[in-house]
């Protein structure tokens, strides 16, 4: 029997977030970007007790196999990060844009969302805006334009903006991987 999931609840803050969890690369590194946004509920209210994890290839498309995410040394790219939302429902990572893991593939950040009130975790993806390979991505191609827009980040001078809506208008497309 597969072990079922349960909500992360309200009290994960003492256990799961940690200093540097959201800094996959040091702030200020020349190629560093900010990947950030808000998490909203079905009323459009920001969710102050959600947690986002990202997992990504490095800028060249290599899948990291290095340890050290929990005690970052500032040099090793582990590809994984964790951020809790603040009181305002805002989350933020410092990272780099992932490269394609294979030639011609659309790169994306793999994402998992947790929150109090969310009975099981949700998977999604953050694609890079305007990437030429997006047009050939099987998932993006299977979605309506409106749905596709929920999975593609928006360019900003400092990096990328990506909001997550758990419910309602502009509801983020969430995934199951059979």
């Amino acid at each position: 029997m597969i072990t079922p999931g349960q909500t992360v609840g309200p009290f994960f803050g003492q256990a799961l977030p940690y200093d540097g969890g959201n800094e996959l690369v040091p702030v200020g590194r020349p190629d560093a970007i900010r990947l950030h946004g808000f998490v909203h509920d079905g009323d459009g209210t920001p969710i102050p007790d959600a947690m986002i994890e990202i997992w990504q290839a490095d800028a060249t498309g290599r899948v990291p196999r290095e340890t050290g995410s929990l005690h970052r040394d500032g040099w090793t790219f582990t590809g994984w990060g964790r951020a809790e939302t603040e009181r305002t429902g805002h989350y933020s990572f410092t990272t780099v844009r992932p490269g394609p893991t294979e030639e011609g593939k659309a790169p994306f950040f793999a994402v998992v969302v947790f929150a109090r009130g969310l009975l099981d975790r949700l998977f999604t993806r953050i694609y890079l805006p305007g990437h030429p390979a997006n047009d050939d991505d099987p998932l993006l191609a299977s979605l309506t334009e409106e749905e596709r827009a929920t999975l593609v980040a928006t360019d900003e001078p400092t990096g990328l903006r990506f909001d997550i809506r758990l419910q309602g208008e502009g509801e983020t497309v969430f995934l199951q991987h059979d």
Binding site: M1, I2, T3, P4, G5, Q6, T7, V8, G9, P10, F11, F12, G13, Q14, A15, L16, D41, G42, D43, T45, E53, W55, A57, V63, P64, R65, E66, T67, G68, L70, T78, G79, W80, T101, E102, F108, A110, V112, F114, R116, G117, L118, L119, D120, R121, L122, F123, R125, P138, L139, L166, Q167, G168, T172, V173, F174, L175, Q176, H177, D178
Partner: protein, 283 residues
Amino acid sequence: MSTTPKSDAAEETAVPSSDAAVTTQQEISAEIEELASAAQHAGGEARQPSIDYPPYRSSILRHPTKDLRHADPETIERWAPCFGHRDVHPLEADLTIGAHAGTNSQVSGEPIGERITVSGRVVDGEGRPVAGQLVEIWQANAAGRYVHKNEQHPAPLDPNFTGVGRCLTGPDGSYHFQTIKPGPYPWGNHRNAWRPAHIHFSIFGNAFTQRLVTQMYFPGDPLFALDPIYQAITDQKARDALLATYDHDLTVPEYSMGYRWDIVLTGGDRTWMEPEEPKEHSE
């Protein structure tokens, strides 16, 4: 398709009272019962929690209303982040040594409560061990109190217990924590709501798609039937998979009790139960 028994039942409970202070356990229990029998009639008892589960009031505005989209895992999703001894100090698996394990804390007293060992294996859907991966836990103290700024339960804090632990699985997927048994605690879902005692677990697999956060419960808890978080899984066997078993082999003579709990990760073969596929039979 639009008139499955499940959706009819959901309709009736779709607008519950939002006033948690006046909603009684009887009302919550009735909603739980209704959704359980609806799932049974629809022939699709959930092996994963129904994310749309109104008896758990906080879920009402926080669950997606659209179906999850199928996506074949891409390369990055078929791998998982790596953790190692750089990440986790061995003492972090012992929650009874006082304050933050692995730090140079001066606190050295022992926490109050029933000492327990919690141990088991993390395996994938085919029984293969998940080796060298990160397991994180957090829990209330023996009095049912969490160390957290939003915690409002006026039970005593334990200066020697943070309730937070980590470890890496061994080559056979085994994990091992030394802790104390958490107490049940009251919460704001409805009037006089109490959660069964539990330990939160966060687990990584060999693939990103196996990521799991869940809760381990203790056998025989009288609060199971009353708890909308536990009951959001309508399949009894799946619910049972969240129960540790008492294991005398894990006890330490004249020192501690022992519980075993194995964790089986999915590759994603059956994640959701919502009745998208109507049962093919005629009434």
